[in-house]
Amino acid sequence: MSDDRIDPMNLTAQLHYSAAGNPPSTLPDSAISNAFPGLEFDIRNIWRRLLVGIELHESDNYVVGADPEHERLVGRRLLSVGDHDVVGALVGPTRPGSGSSRLTSADNPDGVTMLEWSNSLADVLADHVGQTVPCLFTSGPASKPVGKPSSLPDPRFEVVQLEVRALFAKSGTTGGDLAVIAEEMAGPGDLTRGLCSPWQNDYRECACYYWAASRPDYVNVEDTAAGTTTGNHWFAKDREPREYVLDNRFDSRLVSYDDLFRDWQGELRFIVDGKDAPEYRETEPDGDGR
């Protein structure tokens, strides 16, 4: 071992060691990647190959690939695995103060949403690892979300028996579980292929509210006599008039994706105490060298 190397040996040492050059966000306990890509690894990718023979989208109940034996399943939607549903009803108010109702739309006629994998498939892994379980699919390709049928059999749906893979690799020596994700579940690069890129897209649209904690949205806010407030969207190119422009990536009054890709450093401003910081200016060095 070289003289400056530090080798975390036991499990607590491995969990808490912050290696030289790595920011705190590289520690698993700071990870946010569950329903969203995350900054350090995209845990959603471990679920893509849970079912032997098919590959799922990491954030949709959609079959993106399959072995030749199951080629016909590509483009279909998975609705349940064993007793565990992977879609649920989408319910909520449609306007302030209104009661909750099924939220259907032209793009989502059944008003359902995929239940993100880390919750919906965790029980499948716990209950059925190594077993073959009945999986309910649509019987044809389905580009839009589809709800579960009220009863089976139903010609619009097909049950296919698939095996549930183990998440962790096995020791070649003892056959016991290792603390390593099996390569059949996530190959090299799979866990990092879709990370957040916060200095680009996610300044605009981080939907997991992670950046919201550290980035201002509504700035230069002042109370008005009417009891409301005025202020700017952080992305407003001009701070006058002082009004909040509703977020819309096509609105030319706001910084666009292209603007951010080209010059995020120049477009975004420092905010101090909720207000735009004065422009930074180089000051003349003091004559006495202080």
Partner: protein
């Protein structure tokens, strides 16, 4: 490494770090979180200098510079009393042996000999299951005295617990600690059927055992115990039959004992020094503990030889220590006594553990009025290792937890050098095995 050398190498220098030179290279143990790192010699020397510096903050800043600092894992606050998930029933406060050092004073804890009535045992089972939530598991243990004196209640309480377990869906495991003299093949079948962890007290081979664990009339008990345990050893599948050896100055030949009991088929063999007996008999002095440490490390070397050869070797002390070191177990208490584990006397009084039966120091309520959570909270506050001396200055405090409450309250802490020396040895063995057989820890 000799015991004297282990004592010297493991002396506390700084409460937050400990350094080791192992066959696999220099090692740093960070006490909080029980985190073990391999380092180069230059870094070892820097940390060694910092831990000896009069300014204790130097270690903090160096660890932060190296990325070895971490959020505190153990603070000064005692946890709220957890749900009770394990009870041991003193089903018989009497014994047919006359072991001189017995904490239970030949089984009756210094009071009248008595059996636990079945109704009391059932009430204990109800208490055990009462607050268990879904997915939680409970453990029911039988101790004494000698629990097999009250065989009917061992059996009926077990069957009652199985019935409650089926009704509630809460899994239950069973254990029993026995002197082995009264066991029958039918007992073995019963324990096997219910997956008991059976611990048999055996203090050595042949005459050594007889000297320490005689019948009340002075006859030895070794042959009888081994004859009676044999059917259980042959039958164990779900059941696990282990030997527990209480080490006194009279039975210090541990490698031979371990070898003999391993050959006999025990699932595990564990050694524990006699540190506090009611009359001082059999207590280990520091010179005895030095001999014991030599013997324990000899057992450990044999363990390493066997593991490197791919064999199982049931030296429980080292198996457990290696598992805990690998996990980085860190705790402000030595065990679950007074927390999630309580003892129940034959009369239905609750105590911090099986050793505190009938002892006001560890009283925790009774089955009629329920577990006394105020007493448990006070216990957890008072017994927290941060409030123990000299534990506060010791690097081993989160691996050791401060030592057996019962022994500490009765006799103090006469075995700190031994415990530290043993842990130092275990950390060295861990480092060697992790390099040579990483599969031992991941299999």
């Amino acid at each position: 490494m000799t015991a004297a050398r282990l004592f010297a190498e493991s002396v506390p220098v700084h409460p937050d770090v400990h350094l080791l030179r192992t066959d696999a290279g220099p090692r740093v143990l960070i006490a909080d979180g029980s985190r073990l790192f391999g380092v180069g010699q230059a870094l070892y020397d820097r940390i060694d200098a910092a831990r000896r510096d009069p300014d204790p903050r130097l270690v903090d800043s160096l660890l932060a510079d190296l990325g070895l600092d971490a959020p505190r894992q153990v603070d000064d606050l005692a946890p709220d009393p957890p749900p009770v998930r394990a009870l041991s029933l003193a089903v018989a406060q009497k014994c047919n042996l006359g072991c001189t050092y017995c904490y239970a004073q030949q089984g009756d804890f210094g009071g009248p000999a008595k059996n636990m009535p079945e109704a009391t045992a059932f009430a204990a089972v109800d208490t055990l299951f009462r607050d268990a939530g879904p997915g939680e598991r409970v453990n029911l243990a039988f101790l004494g005295g000698e629990p097999m004196i009250n065989r009917p209640v061992v059996r009926s309480a077990t069957e009652y617990a199985v019935a409650v377990s089926r009704r509630t869906g809460t899994p239950v495991t069973f254990s029993i600690t026995t002197n082995g003299t009264l066991l029958t093949p039918e007992d073995g079948e019963f324990f096997e059927a219910h997956g008991f962890a059976v611990t048999v007290s055996l203090d050595g081979v042949g005459a050594r055992h007889d000297l320490l664990r005689p019948h009340r009339d002075g006859r030895g008990s070794y042959r009888r115990v081994m004859d009676r345990v044999a059917p259980l050893l042959a039958a164990q599948r779900r059941m696990q039959v282990s030997a527990r050896v209480t080490v006194t100055p009279l039975n210090l030949d541990l490698p031979r004992t371990l070898e003999e009991f391993t050959a006999a088929g025990f699932h595990g063999v564990g050694f524990s020094p006699m540190l506090s007996s009611p009359n001082g008999h059999g207590e280990m002095a520091s010179r005895d503990l030095e001999v014991m440490l030599e013997q324990m490390t000899a057992c450990g070397e044999e363990f390493v030889r066997r593991v490197l050869a791919g064999q199982r070797y049931p030296f429980t002390n080292l198996v457990t220590a290696l598992r805990e070191i690998h996990r980085g177990t860190h705790r402000p208490y030595p065990c679950g006594a007074g927390a999630g584990y309580l003892g129940v006397s034959a009369d239905g009084d609750l105590a911090a553990c099986h050793r505190f039966v009938g002892d006001s120091d560890g009283a925790m309520g009774d089955l009629t009025t329920g577990v006394d959570d105020a007493k448990r909270a006070r216990w957890l506050t008072d017994r927290h290792v941060h409030r123990q001396e000299p534990c506060n200055g010791c690097w081993a405090r989160y691996l050791c937890g401060g030592g057996c409450h019962h022994e500490v309250i009765r006799r103090g802490r006469p075995a700190c050098d031994y415990i530290r020396g043993w842990l130092h040895h275990c950390l060295s063995v861990y480092s060697r095995l992790l390099a040579a057989r990483p599969d031992y820890f991941t299999g």
